[in-house]
Symmetry: C2
Subunit: 270 residues, 2 copies
């Protein structure tokens, strides 16, 4: 999960999200709309007798603030919460497991803030079922073949890997950048991602206000997407002053055509 504003657990229930599969929460910065939902979510996990560890990746201050609440409201939690301190000023690997790597992306906001780059690791090649039978490939050789090895039959015949396997899906990359003013410094980090989420709090009519509050305009979000040659852009974090979000989308699309409007409770496939 990225960020956790007030009411997140309610939305998760409304969406039928599998709440128990959540293992890691990444918090971009310590403004209420990005973290006030944590304590409620954690309390509910406790009432559901969760046992799996919950990892929270956030700036060090969050642990201090939450400790007071956790000590009072969640003193007998059935699971462990592990805080991982993120330095929002550095671009670095902050988490990885077998399938994914997560990097921080320093942003430009009123308070220290960072985005996150999620990068899938290359997957194994898919082995073709019929080839296993045809060449009688022993089970113990399959992992290596999935990683690219050729197969040598008992007769000494070399079967090249590309006859035995098909290429996996290329690894996907997703970048989340909110809250932030226009900052070209992020471009080398997010270059070419399959999907970029970038805030578009204001439109160009409020460019001055965007600058003062360290937010981006819709046009700027499109400009970043274009310059970073991303494949798709999703915008969001709209100021409440804009009733018609189609206008925000239109402004972004003038710079970057493949833009989607970020909407509550909508599911996007990357």
């Amino acid at each position: 999960m990225i960020d956790c504003g007030e009411g997140t657990q309610i939305r998760m229930r409304q969406m039928g999200a599998k709440i128990n599969r959540l293992g890691h929460i990444f918090i971009s910065h310590l403004h209420g709309d990005h973290c006030f939902g944590l304590i409620g979510l954690i309390s509910s996990f406790g009432m559901l007798n969760r046992t799996a560890e919950l990892h929270i990746h956030a700036q060090a201050d969050l642990e201090k603030i939450m400790k007071v609440q956790l000590d009072y409201f969640c003193s007998d939690l059935s699971f462990e919460i592990i805080f991982h301190h993120v330095n929002p000023r550095k671009h670095e690997l902050i988490f990885e497991d077998r399938s994914i790597s997560v990097y921080s992306i320093p942003l430009k906001h009123r308070v220290p803030s960072c985005g996150f780059l999620f990068e899938e690791k290359p997957r194994d090649r898919h082995i073709i079922r019929e080839m296993i039978d045809f060449y009688n490939i022993p089970t113990w050789k399959i992992p290596k073949i999935k990683q690219g090895d050729d197969f040598i039959t008992e007769d000494g015949e070399i079967i090249p890997n590309d006859q035995l396997t098909i290429a996996p899906e290329p690894p996907k990359r997703f970048a989340y950048c909110s809250d932030t003013a226009y900052s070209e410094k992020i471009i080398p980090i997010i270059e070419g991602v399959d999907c970029l989420y970038h805030e578009a709090t204001f439109m160009e009519d409020e460019a001055q206000r965007a600058k003062e509050t360290f937010h981006s305009t819709a046009r700027q979000a499109g400009e970043i997407a274009l310059k970073a040659k991303v494949k798709q852009l999703i915008i969001g974090h709209y100021s409440a002053r804009y009733i018609n979000q189609q206008d925000i989308l239109k402004e972004t699309k003038m710079g970057f055509e493949n833009t989607l409007l970020g909407e509550d409770m909508k599911i996007y496939e990357i």
Copy 2:
């Protein structure tokens, strides 16, 4: 406002509640579903540049817990928050102004918990407009007549008050009792109220669980209402295990007929 769980500010907006008219918040006890919405509500008040004081009536611990959050997230609030410490073990006057008195009601829960009794003060009598004209009553005498004085004309004739005024609406009394196990100790305090809100977390099939968790059953809520001779009962705080709340209502009504089902976003007139 009584209690402030996560998402309260969102509900207020959905209901079109006049958020700026909120001056006092009464917190019954320090469980998350009764107070996790405070920090978000206060933050939003700050962003709306509220200037009026906000009074929070709650157990002393809440101020300590919230101070850490307020210092971090709301360091430059445009208004003052005044905490009033409530002793949940005492029945006492905790607030009054010109029109209302509020008393604490000690409850019986896993953690210290208290309900609240809201008591309107008697209002002035309504003066009859035509009588002012007929007897030529000077303006400065009106407040006294509204409070029950007779009027003496220039000729010395005594006009009795009940010819000049009509009785005001009788003062209303509303009691809020949640969370609590069945406790007859509250009866003398809530006796005869116009409306009682009482929790009914479980039904009788879960009476044992109600006892263990210091909650009430629907039947018990009805029994308290009957014994306290209240005029109307509203139940609420249902366990999520009950899909059909009509069953909960039916069980309560077996003991106390004039019962309403407390429902999200519904408005009740007392």
